[in-house]
């Protein structure tokens, strides 16, 4: 089925009138893990927000198709219901909204009526146990007063509960210690091992290669200055670890 995949074609995007993405081509196939690497300011998060529909990110050209459907015409919630998930680098705190209620509302929105409340609760507890999350999380307000690590764990819990078709993880590794990094790897592995998530395609955005020791990518892309300058296998991440981005930047400048 050739249409399957999260297919980004020649995507251009502006933020506050400044062009950040200068023609991105990238396709994430179901069940595959793609890593998107690049230095700070290269446009990685802009790609994540423009694909998921953040209103401040203005797409000026190109297309994004999810399993053959043009999603750029859809509002953010419909993109999510089409199967797209974004793990935020800085998740918003929403005081007064309890984690359990929010997750139930999100699951209901994305998969209406698929689980009665008792079964949903059982699913939630199971996923929390898998991720080593204390059950008291359920009664806390969404990201309110959470540490950086707790926020990332909650993003991983949402990933597990929503089991999207395609997940973009925007610097989920930033600010995490080694144990927390391992937990992210465990989360992704657990989702891929589940019936719901075995075909989830991942786009893991990072500027440090270390997370890729715990989540082994099928494809690695390198973004510099709003363009994908290199695509390769897992060894590309190792090269970046050895050489940094400067050499790739020089090569891309020569090509450009």
């Amino acid at each position: 089925m050739p249409d399957h995949g999260l297919r980004i074609t020649n995507l251009r995007c502006q933020v506050a009138g400044k062009e950040i993405l200068k023609g991105i081509d990238l396709a994430v196939e179901p069940g595959k893990i793609h890593a998107l690497m690049g230095p700070n300011g290269s446009g990685k998060s802009t790609l994540a927000f423009s694909v998921t529909g953040h209103p401040q990110y203005q797409v000026t050209g190109g297309s994004v198709e999810l399993d053959g459907e043009d999603i750029l015409v859809l509002p953010p919630d419909k993109r999510a219901r089409a199967g797209l998930f974004l793990s935020f680098q800085y998740p918003a705190a929403i005081p007064g909204v309890k984690v359990a209620n929010f997750l139930h509302a999100a699951r209901q929105a994305e998969r209406p009526g698929d689980l009665p409340p008792a079964k949903f609760r059982a699913l939630l507890l199971e996923k929390m146990e898998q991720l080593g999350i204390d059950p008291s999380f359920m009664g806390r307000y969404l990201n309110d007063g959470f540490s950086g690590g707790e926020k990332k764990r909650l993003e991983m819990l949402q990933l597990a509960v929503l089991a999207p078709k395609y997940a973009i993880l925007d610097e989920t590794d930033s600010g995490l210690d080694i144990d927390a990094l391992k937990d992210v790897g465990t989360s992704i592995a657990a989702l891929r091992a589940s019936e719901e998530g075995r075909n989830t395609g991942f786009l893991i955005i990072t500027h440090y290669p270390r997370i890729l020791s715990y989540v082994v990518p099928d494809v690695v892309h390198v973004m510099i200055d709003g363009r994908i300058v290199k695509t390769g296998g897992h060894d590309l991440a190792h090269r970046i670890e050895r050489e940094g981005y400067d050499k790739l930047r020089e090569e891309s400048a020569v090509v450009a």
């Binding site: 998921t52 529909g53 953040h54 209103p55 509002p75 953010p76 919630d77 993109r79 999510a80 219901r81 998930f85 974004l86 935020f88 998740p91 918003a92 705190a93 929403i94 005081p95 007064g96 909204v97 309890k98 209620n101 929010f102 509302a105 999100a106 929105a109 994305e110 307000y141 969404l142 949402q158 929503l162």
Partner: protein, 402 residues
């Protein structure tokens, strides 16, 4: 030479009719002379509230009930009390059968010195006296229902006396039909180490005007928690106060307002730290939708000798429409130096990043906004007693948001 004697305005017909109605009342718990004096005060005092202007439409100085609408029956009140050890009766019975404990609370909070407290006193007829004896723990909440029929004016007066070491939770439910007028008062007086949680939930119908005055005088080391949700009516105006006259008091004031359409809410809270080593925490959450308007004035006063006071005031307002208007005025008057006093106020719309976060999880924008708005109230809702009441408040807020 002009006379310096007070000028008594000639009574017009409408005013005279009010006096005529006062004369029809039972002379208990207040004599006709006392009631007439209260009506005099109501007519001569100013409300101390904002005048009509660019935003505020309500002229509090001209508010008065229609004499013909005044319901002088002692009905319109129903009490649920499942604890036989707690004495509950109407005011006339209290004045007759328990004059001593009744007098320890009734009329001792200064409510009757205010404009609308005077009006409530002038016509106080349907009311409830709750008396909890020393060291008694009343574990089942007492529920008081006041209901103003459509088009009628009622004046409920609640008096609560809680003796030393006793504990009680009281829920006051206020309902009003279309066009009803309710002007009520609640006085809570406690002795040392008493623990009182008093919640009021008002969800009156369209066009109702609800004016209330609630005042407490907790005893030494007592805990006094007020919680008030004003959701219905065309006008909801009130005063919520605690006068701390003994050390060790813990006072919590919580209020929820949500004017929508053309509703107008106007509330003044006052915590008067007259004794030291007491804590108070005021939390107010206001959301306004469409042309809803709310005005909140939060007073904290710490007397010069009230050292060791710890007073906090937090007031958050959420504007859900460009035409909604909320004024929030925290006012701290601190006379002592060894105290902690904090106030914080926020007014704003829903954060766009919060909405996007929820949308990115599949929630439609409207559903996301509703969930965020309901969450905004939640820290205040959690300070209301009983799960049932909290759920009712959530449901009423959700209905207003829908």
């Amino acid at each position: 030479m002009p006379s310096l004697a007070p000028v008594v305005a000639a009574r017009d017909d409408a005013t005279q009719e009010l006096y005529d109605r006062v004369a029809e009342l039972d002379p208990s718990p207040l004599s006709i002379e006392q009631r007439t004096g209260a009506l005099d005060r109501f007519l001569s005092l100013r409300s101390g509230r904002e005048k009509p202007g660019r935003f505020w439409r309500v002229d509090f100085e001209s508010i008065a009930p229609q004499a013909s609408a005044i319901d002088l029956s002692a009905g319109n009140v129903r009490v649920e009390n499942h604890d036989p050890a707690v004495f509950v009766c109407d005011l006339a019975t209290a004045a007759r059968k328990r004059p001593e404990p009744f007098a320890r609370a009734f009329g001792t909070t200064g409510i009757a010195a205010t404009k609308f407290g005077s009006l409530a006193a002038a016509f106080a007829q349907c009311g409830v006296f709750v008396h909890v004896r020393a060291d008694h723990a009343c574990d089942v909440p007492i529920v008081i229902h006041y209901s103003a029929p459509a088009g009628a004016a009622i004046f409920p007066w609640t008096v609560v006396l809680v003796e030393r070491g006793a504990r009680v939770t009281i829920v006051e439910r206020v309902e009003g039909g279309a066009g009803a007028f309710l002007c009520g008062a609640t006085e809570v007086v406690t002795e040392e180490r008493a623990d009182v949680h008093y919640a009021a939930f008002q969800n009156a119908g369209d066009g109702a005007r609800i004016i209330w005055n609630r005042a407490a005088r907790p005893g030494r080391e007592a805990r006094m928690a007020w919680a008030s949700a004003e959701l219905g009516g065309e006008l909801a105006a009130g005063d919520l106060s605690v006068s701390i006259e003994a050390p060790g008091v813990q006072a919590d004031l919580t209020a929820i307002f949500f004017p929508r359409g053309t509703q107008h809410v106007d509330v003044i809270s006052t915590v008067d730290h007259r004794a030291g080593d007491a804590t108070s925490e005021t939390l107010v959450k206001t959301a306004a939708l469409e042309r809803g308007q709310a005005r909140f004035l939060g007073n904290i006063r710490i007397a010069p000798h009230a050292q060791g006071s710890d007073a906090r005031l937090r007031d958050d307002a959420l504007l859900l429409s460009p035409t909604a208007h909320v004024d929030s005025v925290p006012a701290l008057e601190i006379g002592a130096n060894a105290v902690k006093a904090y106030h914080g106020a926020t007014v704003g719309a829903i954060d766009a990043e919060q909405i996007f976060y929820m949308e990115s999880r599949g929630l439609e924008r409207g559903a996301a906004e509703r969930m965020i708005a309901l969450g905004f109230f939640e820290p205040a809702i959690e300070r209301f007693p009983t799960a049932q009441l909290r759920d009712e408040i959530r449901a009423a807020l959700a209905a207003k948001l829908s």
